[in-house]
């Protein structure tokens, strides 16, 4: 079509085994659009598996490889690891670099860790191999403050290799940062931003129920918080994202992580919780100017949460009050936004970018 969209305008050309991004003229773009984007999956945990299954359903995407270091996955056919009836003819490998050297991929979908510290060398390897990367790493969604040195390193490496690096997901990446920011697009002024995300952890998979501390005693919960073993990774990044793009230099950020405790017995598929047991987590991040809270992100994930929802309140001109009934489901939505963001990342300028730098992702067939 002559009104080439975001995903059509900048494409990747392989040249001397590294990728060069360039803008193509409208007339050239058709052929490129018909070519499939070649995907490597890095990390086949629950999100990685969901993501890979979704990629299989997309006409414009093609899986050309998969990496996982765990013994029960490496060496097996990807189809088996995904729980499919059929094999895919793609053997999961634990040797990422070998795969990157032998397979010409356009993008790695990386779902192998939250903390930049633990994934930095993986990202370096991907970038150094001249492959774009989109990661579910929460810290990577806005790494420019809390992980400034790493962000600079990744940005320089990505520019050098001519590839794009993006961290995204549903939270961070959408509901508590990008969507509120987008809503301010219709505002003449913005005074405060408040976001609530209340999730009923009882409806979620076991690792998530564990992650929010369900079943712990309040004492052990607090201990784990102090050891930084509990708490939603990325909440502060979301807050910094919103503040940065609204042009607000916060005086300080306050973060509190508290247990939500059962008042009566509660049962999930995995836990029998008694009064006094921890149901989950209440994690709040607030950005201040002086004594005023300018941005507030309130995340509650606990078993049996009443009225689960996402809500965004923007005070300004006009003010906006928005509620998503039931909230945007976590794992499915994260897999979706990773896959839906692929064309935008492949088309984007080289460097470490945020979701704000790219056209907003959307579902495509």
């Amino acid at each position: 079509m002559f009104h080439s969209g975001g995903e059509e305008r900048g494409r990747c050309y392989r040249h001397n085994n590294s990728l060069y991004k360039m803008f193509v003229k409208a007339g050239d773009s058709k052929k490129m659009v018909d070519e499939k984007i070649k995907v490597i999956h890095y990390g086949l945990g629950p999100i990685g598996v969901e993501t890979a299954k979704l990629v299989l359903s997309k006409k414009n995407l093609q899986i050309v490889g998969a990496v996982d270091i765990s013994e029960d996955k490496a060496g097996r056919d990807l189809g088996a690891v995904l729980g499919l009836d059929d094999t895919l003819g793609i053997v999961v490998t634990d040797r990422a670099q070998d795969l990157f050297s032998s397979e010409s991929a356009d993008i790695v979908i990386h779902t192998a860790g939250s903390r930049i510290m633990t994934i930095y060398s993986q990202l370096e390897e991907i970038i150094g191999s001249g492959i774009n990367v989109i990661s579910s790493s929460e810290e990577l969604s806005f790494p420019f403050t809390a992980n400034e040195a790493s962000a600079k390193g990744l940005d320089a490496a990505a520019r050098e290799s001519g590839v794009t690096v993006l961290g995204t997901g549903v939270n961070p990446g959408f509901i508590m940062d990008a969507l509120p920011l987008y809503l301010t697009g219709v505002c003449k002024d913005v005074t405060t931003v408040r976001v609530e995300r209340y999730v009923d952890a009882g409806t979620r998979r076991l690792p998530l129920q564990r992650k929010v501390g369900a079943g712990l005693s309040p004492h052990v919960f607090r201990e784990r918080v102090s050891q930084k073993m509990l708490g939603h990774v990325g909440l502060v990044e979301s807050l910094q994202f919103v503040a940065h793009y609204l042009g607000i230099s916060l005086d300080r950020i306050e973060e509190t992580i508290d247990p939500v405790v059962a008042e009566q017995a509660v049962k999930t598929d995995y836990f029998d919780l008694n009064p006094g047991d921890v149901l989950g987590i209440k994690h709040i991040a607030q950005g201040f100017l002086g004594t005023s809270v300018i941005i507030s992100l309130d995340l509650r994930m606990y078993v049996g949460a009443d009225d689960p929802h996402d809500a965004i309140f923007i005070e300004g001109n006009p003010s906006i009050s928005l509620k998503v009934e039931g909230g945007v489901a976590g794992d499915q939505a994260t897999a979706a936004i990773l896959v839906n963001s692929v064309p935008g990342v492949v088309a984007a300028r080289p460097g470490l970018v945020t979701v704000k730098d790219l056209p907003a992702p959307h579902f495509y067939r």
Copy 2:
């Protein structure tokens, strides 16, 4: 900053009196960012006035000219036309081409018409002068179907001149098209999209109350509908936008425009409405695949509307049900999104684009 955002990455260079867009290296962008974007306002009706006032409040924008053909505005100082206490030293002109030739502007904010037919020559003049343009024209938001020939002409001219052309606003441009599309970004599948926008026209300015038919008899209302003098311009464009980017080839579109009739007496600042009088409009556009409604846009703007709101319902995986209490206010929001979209348009690739092609706009100081 080293993580240069959308508005920083592609800037305009004036060269031989036409604009060349190019991508700048990170190191070069700082100086460019500090330069103000030079704005010309084209059309000083209610939206144009709101927009110009907002531009005056922005640090990164500078008004360098204003065009309006009406006798009560042309020749006067812009400050007076905006109702300000101070003059601005900018005389509103009715000679657009002279202004474009004498003033080096980066972008024209065009708020002088809804229909492409009536503004085509204005847009041609702006584009031919090598200036980017962002317009509140509803038809321009997605002109590729209903105004295909015009769209091709504008796209070719814009590419030739190296400028970007965008149509946007709150509706179309945001609440019934871009926002629903963005929400699908967290969906693994999308079956149907339904949007409601119920506006209490009684709270809006007189021209809007007139525009929705308030005070007419149902007979006259239907007559005006048949003469295409009533109905929300852009509703079908919004529907085509959503269908296009979701990759849905609709079998047909059905559009209905009906009066909402008073059951009891209603009073606004401008009208005394009796039972049987028209309160406003119910305008519905539906996109079908076979006999199934896949996309439904339901716009009701009438005096005394109960529970005014915007709502978006996406059926899919996950499904999303979102409500904006009170709805996003029209005129203020339209002025805001025009101004908030300016940096993205200046930075974008040349050609006729849609809001889908650019990073989502957001409020900035």
